[in-house]
Amino acid sequence: MTYDVAIVRQPLNALFDLKGSPAAIQNWAADVLPTLPERPNSRTGQASVELYHVGRNHWIARAPLEQEAELEKHLSPTNCPAEISIVRVSDTLTFFRVVGPQADEVMSIACPLDIHETEFGEETVTYTELFGLKALIMRCEDGFEFAVEQSFGDMAEDYLSRAVA
């Protein structure tokens, strides 16, 4: 293998797409979500639930799949006020982890973003491009984690295996 990394395709996560004003989101879901991240392209966490601020008035809540039903019950997408949108999107993203001493080198093949630790810290999460595909990227322990639209999952895996061959 060209690079000293491990690449792991992740199992499904519970994901909810949230849109609306911060106040409206907090009013509706403050008891189940972490504090809203203050800065765009950053994340907060509480217990096993993470909240990614990925756009203006736009967040993604993430938790282990086992918590999907519980989260959905509390977030209640079908009953939430008209001012906010909550949609279960757990199946829309396929996550990969690239970890190991040369994870940053493999990621630099895939991604044009500056992912140096001085620019892309632990709390950073953002949409960018990986192998030309729209992707959500963040750091994880000993490496990086990213997600592409689920239907591109096989292609991303194909690309990664070529990169490290």
Partner: protein, 955 residues
């Protein structure tokens, strides 16, 4: 063969490692650290190439990327073409061949061109071979004048890679100035990216014997490299050429043979805050008669071969110069015991400091080289003094120096400006356009003492000599050796009116090609200036373009090859499709979909007929997952949907849906799809597969630019829902067999409605829509359940003869129903009325996107192409899709085109759709499809061939 020209010691080569290689089929030896060029010179191989046009014998001229003469083709695992021999690292087993000669450079059949050279000046081809057609002659001319072909096969092992990098400072060049800049930035804690094209750092210091504070200059280089290696914030690459400078300080670097796994070459795309251009300078050639003979070399290259590779490419040397730098070369050669016959200096007054370097050598000032004797190797040079005296000096090597050009390629690629410096007789960096700085020789600091404190080097002084111009001169004087462009070619261009330097370049091809005129460009500019009687600044330079040196296509492409050449998307059913023999291909938006499912012995048409018959007479199932799907939420969704769809949408009640058309600003059809109201504020919009992304952008753009205050939130859920669409008269039976808690009766669950429930034990949303014209149930589940659902559908449907249906059959089924298809009937020119869909144009709504445009167009009453059905008079005659319809089948302007033609199993004949002028009023008439050799009569009908009243799909 022994290495006759190799010194007994010296050079930066590893003499303990002998490497064997072949050149034009002959075996030679070299050492680790050699280039192919240095090894050939060590073995006294003089004729290494034939020239591009005249097939003149050529030898090695330079020692780096400036090499204009010797291009080689590598075989075996190194297979590549047109590589300057000076940039090919020697390795054991290397096999190289000269390009552009047959059978060998020593004896080349194409050499006959030399006899005809008077008749084939610049522009000859275009003037002579214009009748009857240039392309008639082009192949043979290209074969005669071409270079090496691209390798027939990709590398047998390894792969290319492209990666991204970011830096505060990118330094191009690891010579003394580049190393100094990198050290400064690195010590300041900046992220530094240092890239150098050579195999080791040092730049010009590798080639000569200079000192800093009395110590060897290479010692300073080694200390600098060591310090940089210790900095975590510095990336230092050798064998890495910065070959392109793009907008916003994006630079592209090609790294060759990185010491990492199986990577052949790596392309770096570096975004830099600041760029330091430390690319050094390139020696330029002198222009005199027969200045291309083997054994005529750049003086600095002779010095480099001696100091770096321990090679002296001649026994008796004459130097010809107009500047001081050649004197250091002579000094090195003398120290090595080489016989320097003379130094010919075109200047009338040679600086004393220069003379002091070579006290024992005859220096002939005010003297030029008038000619060179020797066809395949220098035998003597003709020294001509300003007084007119002539003497021939016997020698086997002529080292010449026309001065130095700062290597401003990157600077100029950044669109920064240049100015001509009279003192240095060279173009220098002037006003930067991006955040870049030129340093060292690239900025005109041509001696070490100007760059490094304590550096010691003879001061640089020059009197430019753009060409030797003697009365009665014979023999070609080349300005661009690679492209065989001589002084007379430039004169011809000027005489014919091509007096702009860019035109001169295109007329003569001077400055083009692999070396991009590194040694000759300024001599062309100088020749133009002399001929026109204007200063060089006024002539200007041609545009410097990337790549600075040749780059492999593989490195540019990186990993993008084979299966990842284009993006692709899968559904959870993809593997099942493959396992069951589906013929897969892309069917819009990068989705790989099954085209059809051939069974044993079946061709495409047989398979499609079987699948269609199943849907029309029994039951079929297809994977409809790729359709674009969006969930819209907010109080203003109804008015938004009323704006983007042409029909009324807001009146829908929860649980129900409607088919609609989206129009563009100009009233033409943008997309079609269905909209369902999930509840008071939630809506589901589906789009065509191919337009999903563009419709998403269309909606977001409208919301962000036209209606920023409207409360509409869009979430893409294309991949949150997959669906298996069960269609056909037995569809309800299959649904019952699968098991569902939803009442499927048509009274309770009518067409264009949806129900949430379970199917086969999975949470599902069942939607009653139909794209086939048959009773259909679109079973939507989360992708995590899709593969299992699909398997259960196939199992439950087996007793009913269920067949998986591919894209080809879907196409047939929709044509039979006259359902429109984007890209077929919707070709960017038609509106809803043309397609007979005026019913989808709301009369109640005051406004919607495209309404005004379509009204204006309709008021114009221009003839329109309208959708019709066509039935070939011969039932068994297929009409090609896209074929034109002309009046009476005559050779006249078309009145329409065939948009689709399929074999209909329910009609047992070919049926088709067409866009035809005034088609709606021509039903029953005969139209004519005009092909190249045939006219096919077709009957015009309504565009529907199955269940015209839609009873089946509502059943």
């Amino acid at each position: 063969m022994t290495q006759n020209n190799r010194c007994a010691s010296g050079g930066r080569i590893d003499r303990s490692r002998t490497l064997r290689f072949t050149f034009n089929g002959k075996s030679y030896e070299g050492f680790e650290g050699d280039t192919l060029a240095s090894a050939l010179l060590a073995n006294d191989v003089r004729v290494t190439a034939r020239s591009f046009k005249y097939h003149r014998p050529r030898g090695i001229v330079g020692h780096g990327p400036e090499e204009p003469a010797t291009l080689v083709e590598l075989d075996g695992e190194d297979a590549s073409g047109n590589r300057p021999a000076t940039t090919v690292p020697l390795r054991d087993g290397l096999s190289a061949r000269s390009v552009n000669c047959w059978p060998s450079p020593e004896f080349d059949i194409g050499g006959v061109n030399q006899l005809l050279s008077r008749f084939i000046p610049a522009g000859f081809y275009y003037k002579t071979f214009k009748w009857p057609n240039w392309h008639l002659f082009e192949p043979s001319i290209r074969k005669a004048a071409g270079l090496a072909a691209a390798p027939a096969q990709p590398p047998s092992s390894g792969h290319f890679e492209a990666r991204h990098a970011h830096a505060d400072v990118l330094v191009a060049g690891a010579g003394p100035a580049g190393l100094k800049a990198a050290l400064k930035a690195g010590r300041a804690g900046k992220r530094v990216f240092l890239a150098d094209e050579d195999s080791e750092a040092g730049g010009s210091l590798l080639n000569c014997d200079l000192s800093i504070d009395g110590q060897p200059a290479m010692g300073w280089v080694e200390a600098a490299v060591l310090e940089l290696r210790g900095m975590a914030n510095v990336t230092h690459l050798q064998n890495a050429t910065v070959w392109a400078y793009r907008e916003h300080n994006l630079l592209i670097v090609n790294e060759r043979n990185p010491d990492q796994g199986s990577i052949i070459e790596r392309s770096w795309r570096v975004r830099a805050g600041e760029v330091v251009i430390a690319t050094g300078a390139t020696e330029r050639a002198m222009v005199f008669s027969n200045n291309d003979r083997p054994g005529v070399m750049l003086a600095s290259s002779v010095q480099a071969y001696f100091n770096r590779w321990g090679v002296i490419p001649g026994k008796r040397v004459v130097l010809f110069t107009n500047n001081n730098s050649a004197y250091a070369v002579a000094s090195d050669l003398i120290a090595a015991g080489v016989r320097v016959e003379a130094i010919l200096d075109s200047r009338s007054c040679v600086p004393q400091a220069a003379l002091e370097l070579v006290p024992e050598i005859t220096v002939q000032s005010s003297t030029v080289v008038g000619d060179v004797r020797g066809h395949k190797g220098v035998k003597a040079v003709k020294a001509v003094s300003s007084s007119g005296s002539v003497n021939w000096i016997e020698c086997d090597l002529l080292a010449h120096s026309g001065g130095w050009n700062p290597t401003v390629h990157l600077w100029s690629q950044s669109r920064s400006t240049l100015r001509f410096d009279e003192d240095l007789a060279a173009f220098l960096p002037y006003q930067p356009v991006q955040n870049c700085t030129a340093v060292g020789a690239a900025a005109g600091q041509l001696t070490l003492d100007q760059i490094i404190d304590g550096g010691e080097e003879l001061a640089y002084e020059i009197e430019p000599l753009w060409r030797v111009d003697l009365p009665g001169q014979r023999g070609k004087a080349f300005l661009d050796i690679q492209n065989d462009v001589s002084v007379s070619d430039v004169h011809l261009a000027l005489r014919e009116g091509y007096d702009n330097v860019e035109h001169v370049k295109r007329y003569t091809t001077g400055g083009m090609g692999i070396d991009q005129g590194k040694t000759g460009n300024i001599n062309i500019i100088g020749t133009v200036a002399m001929q026109k009687g204007v200063p060089l600044q006024e002539v200007g330079t041609t545009t410097f373009r990337s790549p600075y040196t040749p780059v492999s296509f593989g490195a540019i492409g990186g990993l993008r090859e084979d299966s990842v050449l284009f993006p692709y998307r899968h559904t959870p059913v993809t593997q099942w499709n493959k396992d069951n023999g589906a013929v897969m291909y892309e069917a819009g938006a990068r989705w790989r979909r099954p085209g059809y499912f051939p069974q044993q012995g079946e061709g495409l048409q047989d398979a499609v007929n079987r699948e269609c018959r199943a849907v029309r007479e029994g039951v079929g199932v297809y994977d409809g997952s790729p359709l674009g799907t969006f969930e819209l939420k907010g109080r203003d969704v109804p008015q938004f949907l009323d704006f983007i769809y042409s029909n009324m949408v807001s009146s829908l009640t929860p649980g129900n849906g409607r088919y609609g058309l989206m129009l563009s600003d100009d009233g033409l059809i943008l997309d079609d799809g269905v909209v369902f109201r999930l509840d008071e504020h939630r809506w589901l919009v589906s789009t065509s597969t191919g337009h999903a992304d563009s419709i998403n952008q269309h909606m977001e753009k409208l919301l962000q630019t036209e209606f920023p205050d409207w409360q509409v939130m869009i979430t893409t859920v294309t991949s949150q829902w997959n669906n298996a669409t069960i269609c056909g008269p037995r569809a309800r039976d299959v649904m019952q067999a699968l098991g569902t808690d939803v009442d499927l009766s048509p009274e309770v669950f009518p067409f264009m409605s949806f129900r949430d429930g379970t199917v086969a034990g999975f949470p599902a949303r069942i939607v009653r829509v139909s794209f086939t014209g048959e009773l259909s149930f679109e079973v939507n589940v989360a992708p995590r359940h899709m593969a299992e659902l699909w398997a259960k559908v196939i199992e439950a449907g087996a007793p009913f003869g269920i067949q998986p249906v591919g894209s080809e059959s879907s196409h047939v089924l929709r044509v039979e129903k006259g359902f429109l298809s984007l890209g077929h009937e919707v070709d960017g020119t038609v509106d809803a009325y043309d397609l007979g869909m005026g019913w989808a144009m709301s009369k109640k709504k005051t406004d919607y996107l495209g309404k005004r445009s379509i009204q204006l167009r309709r008021e114009g009453k221009a003839t329109r192409r309208e959708l019709v059905g066509i039935l070939p008079e011969d039932h068994n005659r297929q009409v090609p899709e896209g074929a034109p319809l002309t009046p009476g089948g005559r050779k006249e302007a078309t009145e329409g085109l065939v948009t689709a033609c399929v074999w209909s199993v329910v009609n047992d004949r070919w049926v088709g759709l067409a866009l035809l002028k005034n088609g709606h009023s021509r039903h029953g008439e005969i139209a004519h499809v005009r092909l190249k050799d045939e006219v096919i009569p077709v009957k015009i009908t309504k565009p529907v061939f199955h269940d015209p009243d839609g009873k089946l799909l509502r059943s």
